[in-house]
């Protein structure tokens, strides 16, 4: 008998009686301003949200906010400040010196300031983690209230095998419970909420 057969047989023998799988409601909230809540929560988790009038502003604001960044990479073609060739790089280890990335978020979750970034919108899966700083560009109209709604609209077949909810920069509190921003991944996260 294989281990799989052995385990499944034991589970079958030992499992409890059948119970119903409940339906989970959406718990949507319309009494909250989603944009404001997203912005406040992003600050709470160590990030920052900035509202922009249009995509055109992205380049200018990056130059303002990050004047000292040497290596900037972007998977958004209109980001002209980018100077790193992501598509020409095959080995992800070569991304290690990137200072700043500018990537597109598919939609955001107002309740917890998480932004869904599927692999389909990334040239490399490791990009949001290996960078020193990160900017996510998000269409302001693409907010949902919470994770229940988020999973309703999340299409895994289109994610290209991987996707991540990002809520704030990388952080840790493993030394005496003191919060330190920038553990292994991005040291800062700015989300541009763009009015389309």
């Amino acid at each position: 008998m294989t281990s799989k057969e052995y385990i499944l047989q034991r589970v079958k023998q030992n499992k409890p009686e059948q119970t119903l799988l409940p339906d989970v409601p959406d718990f949507e909230r319309l009494d909250v301003d989603w944009v404001e809540h997203f912005k406040e929560t992003l600050v709470f988790v160590g990030g920052q949200a900035i509202e922009l009038e249009s995509d055109v502003e992205v380049n200018l604001r990056i130059q303002e906010l990050f004047p000292d960044m040497k290596v900037i990479a972007s998977d958004i073609p209109s980001v002209e400040v980018a100077n790193f060739d992501l598509n020409g790089t095959t080995d992800p280890h070569l991304l290690k010196d990137i200072d700043l990335i500018v990537i597109r978020g598919e939609f955001g979750v107002a309740e917890n300031a998480a932004v869904w970034v599927p692999a389909s919108s990334l040239s490399h899966r490791v990009l949001p983690f290996i960078t020193q700083h990160a900017v996510i560009v998000l269409d302001k109209s693409q907010l949902v209230w919470n994770m229940h709604q988020a999973y309703k609209r999340l299409d895994i077949d289109k994610a290209n095998g991987f996707g991540v909810f990002i809520s704030g920069p990388s952080k840790t509190a493993d030394i005496e419970q003191s919060l330190v921003i920038g553990a292994h991944g991005s040291r800062s996260l700015v989300v541009f909420l763009v009015n389309k």
């Binding site: 589970v11 499992k15 290209n160 292994h184």
Partner: protein, 466 residues
């Protein structure tokens, strides 16, 4: 005599922990603060209690259909191009991991947090077999360098002060002597671990949730360490206890809303990564592990312990855990949940753990999937007594108390004697080693009469008035 290598003596180890009073107070306060942060976050969610109930019902359904969901999960994962392995026990899990690494000629492995691999003692096994193993979660790296086990499942180094971490990093990572600034120390670890991530041939991660419907797994971290490992290395192995399954993708909405809020008072972790398919040119392996879980599934009184999503809230709230430290439990998962899981693994070895509780029920109150933890602790105590695994002092005092309680006149006589004699007895007769209750506290002043005597007196007075 019960020997320490074979038996975990919780109260003995706890006594050692509380020797440093200032540190004990800090530990107690730090964990209670995590509980406090949790309370703030959950109060922002009006449907919190409904969510707990739904999560509990989903987990009940998972256990009732675990075989079906396991098969469904494997089928979907295979379709996604993932290689799936099944391990009956820790030994088989470790062999599977080693084989994957050997086949790919792996020399350097980076790991993110996985309590399962702690449970399986994977690290020493791989190191013996010539693999360099580096834990990359900051807390886990700290305890790994110190050759210790994590003392908490979410906060692995909560038993240490920043001075301890500074000394450890100075010794192993060459940081400045006497440094204790958490920001500086984290930066040192960041530099050290970046090198490890970039040099690794394989990455091993844990699994927070595995979804039967999609064959995908979800891994939650704040540091981003799981992803740095998994996306850079050509091989990604994800080890999961088989109870990590949930039926539907949409169920993640519920569990991700519960997990981080209840664990650390965060709305969600910084990164919630969903792995469905291996990256181009990469291998992705899932190792499904039983290691005693199917046996626990068969124990009607204890199977609900398999609902656990490893948030650690029962530890943060437990008055005994907070004042005794995770290492006093001597089991991979400490605290209340560990005390109901461990006797199922080895009743003899962990027989003291279900007694490491006041049965106050706070653990059950904060559990996001409504495990009846304190009821299970109570049930394990009875089994331990039946199996004759109680320590002698408890055995005798239980017998004496049991005898007294079943003989009312004798009980009344003993009470009367104590009330008369206690105030007259010299101090050394009351406060000595035989009276554990008198070691740290003063015995209350004995009342002149018992409740029964008082009650009879009141009844008589009432009758006289009429």
């Amino acid at each position: 005599m019960k020997n320490d290598a074979q038996y975990t003596n919780h109260s003995g180890k706890a006594a050692a922990f509380v020797q440093d009073e200032a540190r004990t107070d800090w530990h107690d306060g730090a964990l209670w603060f995590v509980r406090y942060k949790r309370d703030i976050q959950i109060k922002k969610v009006p449907e919190w209690e409904t969510m707990r109930e739904l999560a509990s019902q989903i987990k009940a359904n998972v256990l009732a259909n675990l075989d079906k969901y396991l098969i469904q999960f494997e089928e979907n994962a295979l379709k996604n191009g993932v290689q799936v392995h099944w391990a009956k026990d820790a030994r088989e899990h470790n062999e599977i991991v080693l084989n994957i690494l050997k086949n790919k000629g792996v020399k350097k492995l980076v790991k993110s947090k996985s309590m399962l691999t702690e449970e399986c003692h994977l690290n020493p096994f791989l190191i013996e077999n010539g693999i360099e193993v580096v834990d990359t979660d900051l807390g886990e790296r700290i305890v790994q360098l110190r050759d210790e086990a994590p003392s908490h499942i979410v906060l692995p180094a909560i038993h240490l002060k920043k001075e301890d971490v500074g000394a450890t990093f100075h010794k192993y990572l060459g940081s400045e002597e006497g440094a204790k600034d958490p920001k500086y120390l984290t930066e040192v670890a960041r530099g050290h671990l970046r090198e490890k991530f970039l040099a690794a041939d394989a990455a091993l991660t844990g699994v927070n949730f595995a979804v039967a419907e999609t064959g995908g797994i979800t891994v939650c971290t704040n540091e981003g360490n799981a992803d740095l490992g998994a996306h850079l290395a050509p091989v990604h192995i994800a080890s999961m206890g088989m109870e990590k399954l949930i039926p539907r993708q949409s169920d993640l909405g519920l569990f991700l809303r519960l997990l981080a809020r209840n664990a650390t008072g965060q709305p969600i972790t910084s990164f919630s990564s969903h792995f469905f398919k291996p990256n181009v040119g990469q291998e992705l392996h899932f190792v499904i592990v039983d290691n005693g879980r199917s046996e626990q599934l068969g124990r009607a009184d204890f199977r609900k312990s398999l609902y656990c999503i490893r948030c650690g809230a029962c530890m943060n709230t437990c008055p005994v855990y907070r004042r005794s430290g995770g290492h006093s439990y001597g089991y991979t998962v400490p605290g209340p949940i560990g005390s109901i899981l461990s006797p199922g693994v080895d009743l003899k070895k962990y027989s003291s753990l279900p007694f490491a509780s006041t049965l106050c029920g706070s653990c059950s109150d904060v559990c996001p999937v409504k495990i009846d933890i304190h009821h299970q602790l109570y049930k394990w105590r009875q089994i331990i007594a039946q199996e004759n695994e109680l320590p002698l002092s408890k055995k005798i005092s239980m017998k004496v108390t049991g005898f007294l309680f079943s003989h009312p006149s004798l009980y009344r006589f003993a009470g009367k004697t104590a009330r008369t004699m206690l105030p007259l007895m010299p101090r050394f007769l009351v406060y000595n080693k035989l009276n554990a209750w008198g070691i740290h506290r003063e015995v209350p002043v004995a009342p002149k009469q018992s409740f029964r005597e008082w009650y009879i007196e009141q009844q008589k007075k009432g009758a006289n008035k009429e």
